[in-house]
Subunit: 373 residues, 4 copies
Amino acid sequence: MIIKDQLHGTIEFDELEGRIIDTATFQRLRRIKQMSITNLVYPGANHSRFEHSIGTAHLSEIIARRVGLDEDEIKKVKLYGLLHDIGHTAFSHEGEDVVKKYIGDHEELGRRKMVKGEIADLLSENYKPAEIADIEKSGHGSIIDSALGADRMDYLKRDAINTGVAYGLIDTDRIVHTLEMKDGQLCISKGGLEAAEYLLIARFMMFSTVYLHRTVRIATAMLYRAIEGAIEDKTLKPEQLAEMDDESALTTMARSGKGAPYAKALLQRRLYKEVCSVPKEGWSIEKAQSVGKELSKRFNCDMIVDYPHEFFKPVEFKVDTGNGLRPIAELSELVRSLKKAEEGRMRVLVLAEENVREKKGQDIEKAVSPLRS
Amino acid sequence: MIIKDQLHGTIEFDELEGRIIDTATFQRLRRIKQMSITNLVYPGANHSRFEHSIGTAHLSEIIARRVGLDEDEIKKVKLYGLLHDIGHTAFSHEGEDVVKKYIGDHEELGRRKMVKGEIADLLSENYKPAEIADIEKSGHGSIIDSALGADRMDYLKRDAINTGVAYGLIDTDRIVHTLEMKDGQLCISKGGLEAAEYLLIARFMMFSTVYLHRTVRIATAMLYRAIEGAIEDKTLKPEQLAEMDDESALTTMARSGKGAPYAKALLQRRLYKEVCSVPKEGWSIEKAQSVGKELSKRFNCDMIVDYPHEFFKPVEFKVDTGNGLRPIAELSELVRSLKKAEEGRMRVLVLAEENVREKKGQDIEKAVSPLRS
Amino acid sequence: MIIKDQLHGTIEFDELEGRIIDTATFQRLRRIKQMSITNLVYPGANHSRFEHSIGTAHLSEIIARRVGLDEDEIKKVKLYGLLHDIGHTAFSHEGEDVVKKYIGDHEELGRRKMVKGEIADLLSENYKPAEIADIEKSGHGSIIDSALGADRMDYLKRDAINTGVAYGLIDTDRIVHTLEMKDGQLCISKGGLEAAEYLLIARFMMFSTVYLHRTVRIATAMLYRAIEGAIEDKTLKPEQLAEMDDESALTTMARSGKGAPYAKALLQRRLYKEVCSVPKEGWSIEKAQSVGKELSKRFNCDMIVDYPHEFFKPVEFKVDTGNGLRPIAELSELVRSLKKAEEGRMRVLVLAEENVREKKGQDIEKAVSPLRS
Amino acid sequence: MIIKDQLHGTIEFDELEGRIIDTATFQRLRRIKQMSITNLVYPGANHSRFEHSIGTAHLSEIIARRVGLDEDEIKKVKLYGLLHDIGHTAFSHEGEDVVKKYIGDHEELGRRKMVKGEIADLLSENYKPAEIADIEKSGHGSIIDSALGADRMDYLKRDAINTGVAYGLIDTDRIVHTLEMKDGQLCISKGGLEAAEYLLIARFMMFSTVYLHRTVRIATAMLYRAIEGAIEDKTLKPEQLAEMDDESALTTMARSGKGAPYAKALLQRRLYKEVCSVPKEGWSIEKAQSVGKELSKRFNCDMIVDYPHEFFKPVEFKVDTGNGLRPIAELSELVRSLKKAEEGRMRVLVLAEENVREKKGQDIEKAVSPLRS
């Protein structure tokens, strides 16, 4: 099977891979957008988890070959790369965040699909399905899921190209040429230090300007409400969301119930506006939720207080200096500064329908002000 | 309003344009794919009529300014560029082909939305809505809808980038620099001859390898059946299709009725296969349909005979030679050859479910053979 | 040795290849422009034979692996790809055209450098140097030098990117995936027909708009005169030109002798202008030269009559139809039309200094008119 | 006059601009490489000051229009953009560094060419030539020469594309859309903060990986020696270097004199190697030079001690926050970190011919070690 990919060009898959791609389970990924509802802000962001999975499989194979795995290991790593997102619910991470307490996160859901069902049946022609699912937690898993892995290299560049934002155009080619497996983990040789540094900066920039763009956060906050409402009043069961795609979930939610007003607003892009914002020090998700409820009551209108994701987890990958492995943060002032740079960047947003800002904006600001830490 | 477009970069819209873009009517275009179900073959083809409309508005403005229109005319041309696809049904041309006998084609449907409803209300703040709708048939309409117009230049390149196929990468910039309005029509100066020639070749290549790719034709033939079936048994009314988006239409059709088997197959990408093919001489759409019915009866299984679209309409644009306007076909042997090149390229396809080919393939081929002209 | 190439990204060379690249003989290619003086028209066309040779080696390796050669054969093919242009004189084809009657063409000059001298010494560590030189005429030579070969795929795309002209952006990746060695020659499988067709069209367009751009022809005609003059009056010996680079040859010629006026004019970009042009029917290079002399005498000023190169040689590569190999021209109307399209395109140009056109233009046109066939 | 640029596409120049471009003075820029001898490391870096000047003129016009200048001012700014590098000696900054003590830097040399000579003659048809030259020091000068100016935006992207290094792919389009003239200087509105931040990071990365790449530093150190030697022994006069191009200067220097060994080595790419390196604390250019002399004497071979350029000057541009202008460094932790990041990055290099390292490497290292601060 040959697939033409907008990022990597012509990609080949063998017969088994081709049949896995052709299952209904895998085809469903075509209808789950990689960037959820980011397309409400960047209209080009319509690419799917299907494309991303194809590309991740391709990069996984290249990296696995590069770091010296044997042909059998390469095949397995490629299969895991292909399947690594098979467990995503509708709306990817946003759906997952709401339903994981009921049914598990996308890794668990994915594992289940790899070890049971039509994909497991196909895998078991050549492998024990658990062998493939277990790659996630093995050293070879870092070829796919790590700061330098195929997953991230694929999505950063794919998201950049589709949104039209230049910041994610990392030098995949250079990074791949400097990757190594050492002490059972993916690391980079000294010659790749700058390319890796740039990857981290690119990721920071993409978070700062795209993934956590103010309007993307607003749309996402509304989406959470839509899903939470629909789960709460049983319009949707968590299990259903795990099998649906973005559009059918949105349409279902828009039809009735507690999530409907948010879902309809998203379909028509009637987004809440920022009434005011405060620094995030002293806040937490829980505080944001309870303040949101209080404000809604007090001002007699629906209000959302949105606490920003902490996107910049400590980066742990190592550089092979020739004198042993060392964490990149030890070698790069620039990388060290990224964590600090994040802090000041993200604020707590107070959101409501457009007319609320005009009518009650100043009063709301006064009410929120004392809450600043 | 500022929009980041993956093709043209940062695009600005004025306040009225922004409010039109924000209507539910316009936002619906986000959920209509530019290339319908081509993404079943080229998985990157997920871009929407929304993006294309934004890009067409942008190019319309640039061309209008280039050929010397005044600021008021430029504004109107840009608005028409923005709205030129507002009338599309779900699945764009495929949906339109089925329902136009009931409710009109996308130009008529679009005109209605421009002269009545929320968009007309906004337009009428500054214009008579019909003024904008009428651009289509005026000389200025060729800035958008013509062989050298903004519509085509936008979609050729956008489709190329999203499918990953290099053939549509026309030199927009060069073409725009050589455009002129002469005798009330858009034409090209002599210096642009080669860029225009290349645009026609690029279009030919995109038809030949993407728009009429064999598997795209198969998926499209199944989509027609799905829509026709759903209209016939009233699962869908033609009017509904004009207001739906791709996914909701497909989901509705998959739920029940005559179109359901096709719709479900498309959702899971279980596509019919080619049993055999014949040259198209002596065939017509009508003959194809009746032979399809006969074969289905005779071989006791669902069969589709697919007659190829004639994609290469005679190209009529003119080149300003300095010695008067002359049709490009007179000046370019290459352009003349494109029409002939098309003839041999497209065949009549006989399609059925995968297992039919194995079991009855040879018999079917024998039955179809004598039908060759 | 790792080289970052603007077209192919990171390219690796083994130790022997690296030492060959590091010879003075090979380093000289850095100072020979791939497109000679085309940069007088397309200012970005400054890329060198060095880059092109690096890229050709890289593509040769990829193709050789693709069509199933063994590791030893792949190495040799890559080395030949690296060295295929080592025999170029200053100004590549333009220099060669003038001096080949004295010292042989670039293939012969290249062969000599491969079998004797510092490069031969390095090659002979692992091979008989003639083994590498002989690849040119063997079946494996078609991997580099043929209509589908590495040489052409590299230069078409590299020239396109550097001039900024979109027409050469062929789908290398797709072509490579469909290449085969059959009956000892490089051919393409049926699935690659359109990609190959497009390559031929791209090449046609590059000739028509770049390589034989009117002003490029003028600069080239002047360059021929500069070189011929310098050879004639012994300012330069043919052997010298074979060892010089573009700039040192141009500077030498500009210093004195019969070629100096042309060389100086090129350095300052004072180009001759077209006085008039006639269709090429009935003309030949010889006739053009003798008419040029006559006109110069009669009008008492230097005039050049430039006969156009025939760029479109019959294309001979084959397509593997599954039913035997067939020439692409049999299968593609479009390819057949290219030969005819060329005919009308190129004219005989009558050139002289700018002021001549003003003063004597009409008289010259009258004198040339009766010469039309 | 229309020029096709590999970066910006089709660019138009009016009649006067066209005649300036056609002067011998301006045409000389075709033969001065934008990146001097960086092409010895990145073989694609063959682009010229000519292309860069064309592109800078184009961006200057766009920015000048964007920030609201009138048509006359725009024309002047564009002319200054076109001419801003007209004073460069051969080898751009490297040549300039050596000869500026004799004849002035490239700004002074450029000014002289703008106010006297063939370019001044042309300018004076429409302007007082000094008017154009004076733009450099006026507020409008920041449109070309500043952290956000046309010069920098052009070269960062052009260098990135030609070297094949992804790091310089800034979002020109986005930056331009957010530029303003406030208090007589170019600044950026709040919406452009991230694009500007990214420009500074991109610049940092380009310095770190390209402009100050270890091997580029070595080649550059040798080039300095070649020029210094040639000036010292009068092979070249400083005035000559200001009128020569790269290749003729290199060839002249290679012919004889004190610079010849370095010039020849550069022509054949026989580069010195790093014997050892030390942190730059406690060092200066002067100390590096004197230590170099000592080491050469003591170890009886030519040695160069290369002190790194300080590339990261404090960035002074301002962001219009809506609440007054503030320096970007106040608003961005990331920008603040760049200065610190630079410190650790650059080391003092001890260089000598390849065989020296093998034979005397350890002894040299011992001699240099105590010199560490």
